[in-house]
Symmetry: C2
Subunit: 259 residues, 2 copies
Amino acid sequence: MPIAPAIVLVEPQLGENIGMAARAMANCALSDLRLVRPRDGWPNEKAVANASGADAILDGARLFESTEAAIADLTEIYATTARSRGMIKRVLKPGAAVAAMRATVSAGGRPGVLFGPERTGLNNDDVALADAVVSVQVNPGFTSLNLAQAVMIVGYEWFQAGADTPDEQLVATHTLPATKAELHGFFDHLERELDAAGFLAVPEKRPSMIRNIRNIFERAALTETEIKTLHGIVTRLVGARWPGKGGGRGGGEGGNGVA
Amino acid sequence: MPIAPAIVLVEPQLGENIGMAARAMANCALSDLRLVRPRDGWPNEKAVANASGADAILDGARLFESTEAAIADLTEIYATTARSRGMIKRVLKPGAAVAAMRATVSAGGRPGVLFGPERTGLNNDDVALADAVVSVQVNPGFTSLNLAQAVMIVGYEWFQAGADTPDEQLVATHTLPATKAELHGFFDHLERELDAAGFLAVPEKRPSMIRNIRNIFERAALTETEIKTLHGIVTRLVGARWPGKGGGRGGGEGGNGVA
């Protein structure tokens, strides 16, 4: 596994949050959890109860007496803080920060991210230990960001940056997308029946009406099975209007269309 | 305020998660919370205890008997689900989904996002109500994503897409970045003293040594105050080596440099 950033929780107060942070880390393929003076000691039952099975991360968590000690083996430190500090630091959004961390890892470095106590956030001395600040932009009217949520946002950006999933895809598991020939076969069927029904009887309107109808079904990204269903629907509707007709014409094109 | 997506929690089980979801919504400037058959009834004390002050969102939450009723006034629905469903749907990553939602809002539409119960996620009937699926890519080895964390990820992407913060910036509150003239004034001072101390005595090495030293301080993005401090440090160090010399030369360049 490539090296992922260490997550350093400085004086975390609530075991619940440590557990939820570990769960978020597991979601994001992070595993190196470091705790600096957790308020309620360690191990912590509430952490386990809230980790939803991310026990390996809690079991592997390392305890430190100081932030300096917790980051001693790391090469690049990011401090998460919403407040400005009167220090000059690079301030990165989470997406830019994980890009920098990935560059660090590629160059053989070891990044780590500091998160402060729930009530106060990181103090100035801890921020001063960092090479850069990671700032999660939130609603200025409600800036109280939960500790585990902050870990999730950094972890989410980290995992996203490594995932090679396209931004958009069509997923089909039990059924295949229809070919254009199948789709056009349905158009032929539908338009033939609409012509027969007089729905497309005004010649000057016919082309635009057909375009509009086709667009509806084009957009639907239909499957093979759905095309059969649609054939069946048209056939049955026609059959209902002209008893004895629909069954004969539609039978070869998908029966009743129930998949 | 521009219209933001509605957050629809379908059969949420834990009040804690409803409260944390409301808090995440407040962080992300979302306010329209809709609950479909919350397991433990409504209102819920544990929701309030976990909302960290996002009470207005909980107070404004609307209760519905069915998912259909909850989304009746919306125009475009996104279902959050990790599992594939044997349906053809557009599957979007959160970033792409919020881009689509913003386009919807610009066009006068009203998007909504469905989140399923903690234990099972959305059922197929609810997913079928959606125009598209939002899929948060997580570690395949640990896919158990907390409900409020899922709300946060969608909300975070929504808020990011609207924020006009640059990816990276330098923030200084009480102090100004140094001008290049100030920086170069320090280089002159330092190099003069290094020359005097014989540190740069090998002529063929001098240029590269100076470059290396300058790079260190260039990278540091120094402030005015820090430049003064550095002048003071050099002056004092020289003064320690040659008692009676440093004070006279460094005095006009920043004194002892303590800001």
